[in-house]
């Protein structure tokens, strides 16, 4: 049942994503200033928005785990953090490609990208430490705490990179002002939806693996206890 739901979601996600890319590549005109490369925003920005969504879900489920000790919440947390980190990475890579095309450098320490990079590093800490904890309850508890600490850092990161006396070559945020042209808005919204569906399918796959892993662990313990 759950597997079927995952497959259905994945197929739906693929259809929406491919359909939207088709629109983006064949229907939309080139952007006035940037030419063809602007199309990367239909991947780049949805990745960032969805990363935020999944990190937020991970925060909520981390708190719920601490409150209830229900391991399902821990599984959701780790699945969302993994997918969130992947999306952040996608965002960084696409941003870097865009930057190379527009600014001539792969990395320019622009504010948004710098903030994203710091988020990525924060959650890498979570993903690196988690496998080092052997006991499942310890692992779930400590990872939940790390996830809460990481999330609390995000507003501070955003504040820090905007400090007036940070003396580096950081340019101002791109696209801080200005709005999307009306014909771009539809594909943009569908892009966010497509990315959300794909990510959700991945989260479901990871959830399935996590619960299988827990079952294996407990069967092992049961065996050793005999």
């Amino acid at each position: 049942m759950r597997e079927k739901a995952t497959y259905l979601l994945a197929i739906l996600a693929a259809v929406v994503m491919i359909g939207n890319l088709h629109t983006v590549f064949t229907q939309l005109p080139d952007e006035a200033m940037q030419g063809a490369v602007y199309r990367i925003i239909f991947i780049h920005v949805p990745a960032a928005i969805n990363a935020d969504i999944f990190f937020t879900i991970a925060l909520v489920t981390a708190i719920l785990f601490l409150a209830t000790k229900n391991f399902v919440y821990d599984s959701i947390t780790v699945s969302c953090v993994e997918v969130g980190a992947m999306l952040t990475f996608l965002n960084l890579v696409t941003g870097s490609i865009w930057g190379r095309n527009q600014w001539g450098v792969w990395w320019a320490w622009d504010l948004r990208m710098t903030g994203q990079l710091m988020c990525f590093l924060l959650y890498m800490g979570y993903l690196l430490v988690r496998p080092a904890i052997a006991e499942p309850t310890q692992r779930a508890t400590m990872s939940s705490i790390i996830s809460i600490f990481a999330y609390a850092d995000i507003p501070l990161v955003l504040m820090a990179i905007r400090l007036p006396n940070v003396r580096t070559q950081h340019p101002g945020p791109v696209l801080e002002t200005g709005t999307l042209a009306p014909e771009f808005r539809g594909p943009f919204a569908i892009g966010i939806l497509a990315m959300f569906l794909i990510s959700s399918a991945l989260v479901l796959v990871r959830l399935h693996q996590e619960s299988a892993q827990r079952e294996i662990d407990s069967l092992r313990r049961e065996l050793h206890a005999r």
């Binding site: 000790k69 391991f71 499942p136 309850t137 827990r214 662990d217 407990s218 049961e222 050793h224 206890a225």
Partner: protein, 233 residues
């Protein structure tokens, strides 16, 4: 009022239940030996009673107070597998610290008294790291008894002790019992435990399968309890 009361305590490690609804009621002034094979959940259970671990379900009361509260913990003395003293503090400094943490009225006086009781007053300024194994164990015993706890929780207390430390511990435990204290000790060394125990409880696969007064049969036949009440053989 019961000294220790555990009500359907569950503890999961991942999906594996190490405790499956363990119930325990210990009358004040009694000495309960918590018996069971390795892996039955004795240490897990004792750690929950001592506030070192959180039950997944169920709850534990110490003289009617929640075991997590400071009020309950003030009444508890704990002696676990490790000796729980600092190598880089002197014997006296160690006891002074734990006296302060336990909220003893005059920690320095209590520390000296405790050192005398275990025969370490002469070396009170010696660093714990310089002590022999037996002396360290006696220091650990002094630490557990320092604040004159009403309830003593002991995890395998006789396992790693040398003869002198066992004698010191036995006499301290007997004094404590005469003074009205309650003792819960996990052990699989039935002979040593039976010298003190007034009650026994048998833990098997995370459940208390039997509690009752110490039976006469157990003195000469350590396997009797398991054969009579144990589900497994």
């Amino acid at each position: 009022m019961l000294a220790v009361e555990a009500d359907r305590v569950w503890k999961y490690f991942g999906d594996y239940p190490a405790l499956r609804g363990a119930d325990l009621a210990v009358e004040p002034g009694s000495c309960l030996a918590l018996l069971g094979r390795n892996g039955a959940g004795k240490t897990t259970f004792l750690r929950i009673l001592a506030n070192l671990s959180r039950p997944t379900k169920g709850d534990v009361k110490i003289f009617g107070d929640a075991s997590r509260g400071a009020e309950a913990r003030r009444k508890v003395g704990y002696l676990g597998h490790g000796i729980g003293v600092y190598d880089d503090l002197s014997a006296f400094e160690n006891l002074l610290l734990f006296g302060e943490l336990a909220g003893v009225q005059s920690p320095a006086k209590a520390a000296m008294e405790a050192l005398e009781r275990v025969g370490l007053a002469r070396v009170k300024d010696g660093m714990a790291r310089e002590f022999s194994r037996g002396m360290r164990q006696r220091l650990a015993v002094a630490r557990a008894f320092l604040h004159k706890p009403e309830i003593l929780l002991l995890d395998e207390p006789f396992t790693s002790l040398d003869d002198k430390a066992i004698a010191v511990l036995q006499s301290l435990l007997q004094d404590a019992l005469r003074g009205g204290a309650t003792i819960v000790m996990s052990t699989h060394q039935i002979r040593e435990a039976m010298e003190l125990a007034t009650h026994v409880a048998l833990l098997e696969r995370g459940q208390i399968v039997h509690t009752g007064p110490r039976a006469q049969e157990m003195l000469n036949d350590p396997g009797w309890l398991y054969r009579t009440y144990g589900a497994q053989t």
